[in-house]
Symmetry: C2
Subunit: 221 residues, 2 copies
Amino acid sequence: MPLDAKTLCLGALEAGFDTGYDIRKAFEDGPFQHFQSLSYGSIYPALNALLVEGLATCDVRNGDGRRDKKIYAITDSGRAALKAALMEPLAADQLRSDTMFAMAFVHLMTRDQVKRILDEYARANRRLGEELGRLLRDRMCEHPGHQFLLRLGEDGSEMWARCIEALRDDLVAALDDTREAPEAAPTGGAAAMTARDAPETREPGSGSRPGPDPHHPRDPR
Amino acid sequence: MPLDAKTLCLGALEAGFDTGYDIRKAFEDGPFQHFQSLSYGSIYPALNALLVEGLATCDVRNGDGRRDKKIYAITDSGRAALKAALMEPLAADQLRSDTMFAMAFVHLMTRDQVKRILDEYARANRRLGEELGRLLRDRMCEHPGHQFLLRLGEDGSEMWARCIEALRDDLVAALDDTREAPEAAPTGGAAAMTARDAPETREPGSGSRPGPDPHHPRDPR
DNA sequence: CTAACCATGTAAGTAGTTACATGATTCT
DNA sequence: AGAATCATGTAACTACTTACATGGTTAG
């Protein structure tokens, strides 16, 4: 079973996000953005439930004039509950990618449309990677867990973008072939194969392909 | 807006899955498994809606003795509707990874638990990659779109697994450091406390991360 | 002989999201 | 002046999932 809103909020509190507003930001632009999502409508009720169950406490700060601010904090039993939730088997990842689904129907699109979609998609992934990287470096992250999270987000996004770009050209080429030369083309051939091989052949070093190469000049300091 | 159940079914029909049962398999074990999910409760109503709207037709096969089988087929206007859906801006990918979220709280876990979770996670991803690869090769896929989908799924999963493995060892090492060298903690609450401390103690000099080679020996093979 | 597979469907439940209501403050 | 940010909360809605109901067929 996937982690529910309460557990997610507990985690956010443990991570140092201490108001409803702040928690939402953690899931919107913060360290969790790539891996979970949660909106106000889930957060505030969850927070109240945590209070009732004694898993969190709340300290109301009078914000002179502006709306009162509720500072939440996780309790020991809250931390125990979080721990317990992490102990039991974690649900498998769930991905939903309309773009990838759409790619199953390239035959209904123009070459240019396919190219545009894929370019945009790769760019979006790269942007995400950069944002996570910035997050990692800007507020220099003490926390090994957070570092891990952000690095993986960064590396994963970057690599996914490279994958897309690597196979994009093959796809577009194949499209041209099947459309312009519906019969003859043996195709797929060279370009496709080289890209294809990379992942499984444990080639020594030659392949410049989409291989995992998270070697960004990560701040060797 | 994400693609709805109707559009997803339309796509499955276009891809050649022609019964409700078959469509579910396409999302469960088939080419879409990695990118979308859909269950009976959505599929059958969607299929009926498509019939009503003239986007699909249905041919009832009498399965002597066994339950009748309904063979669906996409119509021209169905194909047009699918095409139209793919034309308008596609929703961004949405990932939900409880495992990655959990990694933000490694300080609440034992070293071995972290290792176990990560190993299992990497293995699961690798399995998925292999399954998609098998799918790609077994029923040799004519279709450029399907090929693209399966290849990306395969490569992506494999690479993600590698990423995990590459950063896993660093994480575990960092964990050992911060835990084993807590400045002379009196330790009232045993292991839990020492683990707890890590995040806020802004460790002064040392830095758990030795500068050189922050990650992945990167496949020195 | 039992488990898994084939095959369709529905009703009830779930867990969320969206949009709204409210309002001060700070940036452009 | 207007937009964005800070800040909390709720009610209505939505779109799906789960579990059930049904039952023949095939493989171990």
